[in-house]
């Protein structure tokens, strides 16, 4: 039996309001490729951040044994010194520096007072050869493609004398040929004794390279499968990823009559604003009716948020083409103001980043999207504003000392309620909710679901984007499935299962 290189024992990591990891165990043998799979939010990245010291020792519970030594990493440098290198999904390269400068960034050759550029570029070129990248190390990062940048990251890891390489979704933004090249490179390094952990959603790739597969779900380890001894089908992995029991985590919705179509989008195509030519939404059509909750399932980066933002007054993307019909009539919404005035609102997935003004009190946040309701000729009626804010805080049961409390001081769940209040206050007909329960605890989630039920009862239409399949299954009347910028399926509440949806996504992934 091979020696164990890494063992993570009973790792528990808490964030305010949520347990991201709950007694997770992971064993990695020397010289193997170990795959880590799970849904979005299952805790894969969190686990790797614990391992690499991004979350320092003391901020989590449990033990990390590496080469039979207990490790207490305070920062990334500590883990890198031991040869553990993590390559994140979003590449950490400086675009206006050369490949060589990037590879030795933070690890400069020569002395502090004088960088030895000769050495830097010579070593860089050697390492580039090892990873099979035919570029001069003096080329600027911005001038090479994403696939090559990924190889530079790996070369950079090699420069640090890597023993355990962690790759977080390395092929997410690569095309088929580049992905295959990368995976073959990993297999070749394996022969030379390198151990790697790979996080991926593409199951065919995992079956291709992985020796062992550990499945995470809801912050807990479910099982570790051995790819060498057992024949593992994709079905088997999917079942492990999603197979949770559905209890009454979702409030019952009274029978609501679904009426006429309120929003319809036809042949909607959106291009990326900076990478022109890249389609982020590709010929998508969908419709929602009054009194209906419609979900959009998909993996991160499938283009769901981009779709929603582009519908919401073209708040994202360029060269948007397609037809948008509101209540059967074609509508041109050129900015968010026009969308709000027509009763279409978008509730962001990133409440802190682009939803709320954290330095302002609840009252101010509540009324921001529709100030004309509490002002006359531009002068704010503070009393009316307070009444409105208090009213929503009561209806949504927002826990706060008063509506004068700064939003930044509230818990995630209560911030989310303020965000929903803000958009309910704008009197919408159609609400697009993007990840409405991300990062909030189970109790608050239940309350948000109740609010959604109340909204559709009042005749609103809800379009819900979520990465949590059970949530979509529990809440939606219909679910659209989106993958890699395209709509790849639509299922009704009756026929929807997690296996069906996950299967559809994975089947249509480019790698397959």
């Amino acid at each position: 039996m091979a020696t164990i290189l890494l063992e993570m024992k009973n790792i528990t990591k808490r964030f305010p309001g949520v347990k991201a990891l709950d007694n997770v165990n992971l064993q990695v043998e020397e010289g193997e490729i170990h795959a880590l799979v799970g849904e979005n939010g299952a805790g894969k990245s969190t686990l790797m951040n614990v391992l690499s010291g991004i979350y320092p020792h003391g901020s989590y519970e449990g033990e990390i044994l590496y080469q039979n030594e207990e490790c207490k990493f305070g920062e990334i440098r500590d883990s890198e010194r031991k040869g553990i290198v993590i390559i994140h999904q979003e590449l950490a390269l400086v675009p206006y520096m050369t490949i060589g400068e990037n590879m030795f960034l933070g690890n400069e050759q020569g002395s502090v007072a004088r960088i030895n550029w000769e050495d830097t570029y010579r070593k860089s070129n050697e390492l580039l050869q090892t990873v099979g990248l035919r570029e001069s190390s003096r080329t600027l990062i911005k001038d090479i493609g994403v696939g090559k940048q990924q190889l530079v990251e790996i070369a950079k890891a090699l420069a640090k004398n890597v023993k355990l390489l962690i790759l977080d979704e390395p092929t997410a933004s690569l095309n088929e040929a580049d992905s295959r090249k990368l995976l073959d490179l990993l297999l070749q390094f394996k022969k030379e004794g390198l151990t790697s952990i790979i996080i991926s959603h593409k199951l065919n790739e995992i079956s291709y390279v992985a020796d062992k597969i550990t499945i995470l779900r809801d912050g807990a380890t479910i099982e570790t499968l051995n790819n060498k001894t057992d024949v593992i089908g994709e079905e088997r992995i999917i079942r492990g990823m999603v197979g949770r029991t559905m209890t009454d985590r979702f409030p019952k919705r009274e029978d609501i009559q679904i009426k006429e179509t309120s929003l319809e989008v036809k042949n909607w195509t959106v291009f990326h604003p900076t990478y022109s030519g890249r389609k982020v939404v590709d010929n998508v059509s969908l419709h929602i009716r009054k009194g209906e909750v419609v979900g959009i399932a998909g993996l991160m980066g499938a283009g769901r948020t981009e779709l929603a933002l582009s519908i919401f007054g073209k708040s994202f993307g360029e060269n948007i083409t397609g037809t948008l019909l509101l209540h059967g009539k074609e509508a041109k919404l050129n900015n968010s103001r026009q969308a709000i005035d027509k009763g279409l609102v978008y509730i962001t997935e990133d409440r802190k980043g682009d939803g709320l003004v954290l330095t302002n009190p609840i009252r101010v946040n509540t009324t921001l999207a529709k100030m004309e309701k509490v002002s006359h000729h531009g002068v704010i009626d503070k009393q009316a504003e307070m009444t409105a804010a208090n009213d929503y805080a009561q209806r949504l049961r927002t826990k706060c000392t008063s509506t004068e409390q700064m939003v930044g001081n509230l818990s995630g769940g209560n911030q989310q309620k303020v965000l929903i209040s803000k958009w309910m206050f704008a009197d919408p007909e159609i609400m697009i909710l993007d990840e409405p329960t991300r990062g909030i605890d189970v109790g608050a989630k239940y309350e948000i679901y109740c609010i959604i039920n109340q909204l559709v009862k009042d005749g609103k239409s809800i379009l819900m984007i979520s990465s949590e399949l059970p949530e979509l299954l529990g809440m939606c009347d219909r679910i659209y499935i989106m993958n890699e910028s395209k709509m790849v399926g639509e299922v009704s509440r009756e026929e929807a299962t997690q296996e069906l949806i996950m299967g559809q996504i994975l089947k249509t992934s480019k790698g397959a």
């Binding site: 968010s336 103001r337 709000i340 682009d354 003004v357 302002n360 921001l368 002068v379």
Partner: protein
């Protein structure tokens, strides 16, 4: 104890101002607070209050500053001198022309900053060089002096003494009237809030607040009355400060300034045209720079090519000392006024004490750094708490 701490934390700059005032009053043997010096303090620092109010709006939009205002003050001052003194134009027409020129300069800055999205620092740095050059060209390097008295009187005269006594009784009466109106308004709004069931502060705190503020107003008007009376410039300042205090706290466009500075993405998604908000802030800055220029030429009775040098730094300093956040979204007009007075007392006090001019700069720099450090650290603490 906690309550005292909270009051102290909320009003740090007021307490700091009181301490600094007492310190200088003691060090100067009371000279700082003699009526003549109080009048001096007001006319010396009028321009800082006006410029800092405008600067606050820029800073609120996201920590954007305007470096050009000193040069704009020089340019508009030069224009005023040329029109009023050299051309002998009607002063009201001249004033309107000066204000319009200020608006045009503000619009140019605003267009570049808000619509072309060139960083404010760069645009206004360019403006700083550019407008100074234009001012020098207009003045041909010379100083224009001796403005007509009917122009100077607009800014430099005092509330007339109708009762003709030892004191300017009218000034005292005005002070007392302001207090009475203030007290009535406070009580009525308190009763209204109570009736509607809103939270109100305790009666004790409420009364104390009113007593302190009234005492300050009456003491100030008494002091001014025993010199020459309330200066007109103080009335101009009061009007400007009131308008902008109202604008920032009670109007929708004012609210948008805070929202944009607090989180521009959220503001945009809430249907706010953030470009327009940013444009307005700089348009307004141009306007207030022109107002400050008119005040300055009256005070110095001249339009000099070097006028307005470093005024931008005084204004920015007043904002930060007054509690505006260097990242935007936080700051109040009353805070900025306190910041401006603080700087004024510091300058004036050190001058009376005869502190070396170079040393004065050292002290001012240290105070500014301390104020902003305090602001950043206290915010960090409240975040982790």
């Amino acid at each position: 104890m906690d309550k005292a701490k909270e009051i102290l934390k909320k009003n740090t700059m007021i307490f700091a101002l009181i301490i600094v005032t007492i310190f200088f009053a003691w060090q100067t043997g009371g000279t700082l607070l003699v009526p003549q010096n109080v009048t001096n303090l007001i006319s010396q620092n009028g321009y800082v209050v006006i410029l800092a109010t405008g600067m606050l709006l820029c800073i609120l939009t996201g920590g954007n500053i305007d470096l050009s205002i000193g040069s704009v003050v020089a340019l508009v001052g030069a224009l005023a001198g040329t029109l009023i003194v050299n051309k002998g134009m009607n002063i009201w027409v001249s004033i309107i022309i000066c204000l319009v020129v200020g608006l045009i300069i503000g619009a140019i800055h605003g267009y570049w900053i808000a619509y072309l999205r060139i960083p404010a620092f760069i645009v206004t740095l360019a403006g700083m060089l550019l407008w100074r050059g234009v001012a020098l060209m207009i003045l041909n390097g010379m100083t224009i002096s001796s403005f007509p008295s009917h122009y100077l009187n607009l800014f430099n005269s005092y509330v007339p003494d109708v009762f003709a006594g030892q004191m300017n009784i009218l000034s005292l009466v005005i002070g007392i009237l302001i207090c009475i109106i203030y007290i009535i308004v406070q009580f009525v709004s308190r009763m209204n809030r109570k009736k509607k069931g809103y939270q109100v502060e305790t009666l004790f705190a409420f009364v104390i607040k009113i007593i302190i503020l009234s005492a300050v107003v009456i003491a100030l008007s008494y002091s001014l009355a025993s010199h020459k009376g309330i200066p007109f410039i103080l009335i101009i300042l009061a009007v400007i400060v009131s308008i902008y205090a109202y604008f920032t706290t009670r109007t929708v466009p004012g609210r948008y300034l805070y929202a944009m500075g607090g989180n521009e993405k959220a503001a945009k998604l809430s249907g706010i045209n953030t470009n327009k908000v940013l444009f307005f802030a700089y348009l307004n800055m141009g306007f207030l720079s022109a107002v400050a220029a008119l005040v300055c030429v009256a005070r110095f009775n001249s339009a000099a090519p070097t006028a307005g040098t470093n005024y931008e730094l005084d204004a920015i300093g007043a904002c930060y000392i007054g509690g505006a956040s260097a990242y935007g979204g936080i700051g109040t007009v009353p805070g900025v006024v306190i910041g401006a007075i603080f700087m004024g007392v510091l300058n004036n006090g050190m001058s009376i004490m005869g502190v070396d001019n170079n040393m004065q700069k050292v002290v001012k720099g240290t105070v500014l750094l301390a104020a902003v450090t305090f602001d950043v650290l206290s915010k960090k603490r409240s975040k982790t708490a």
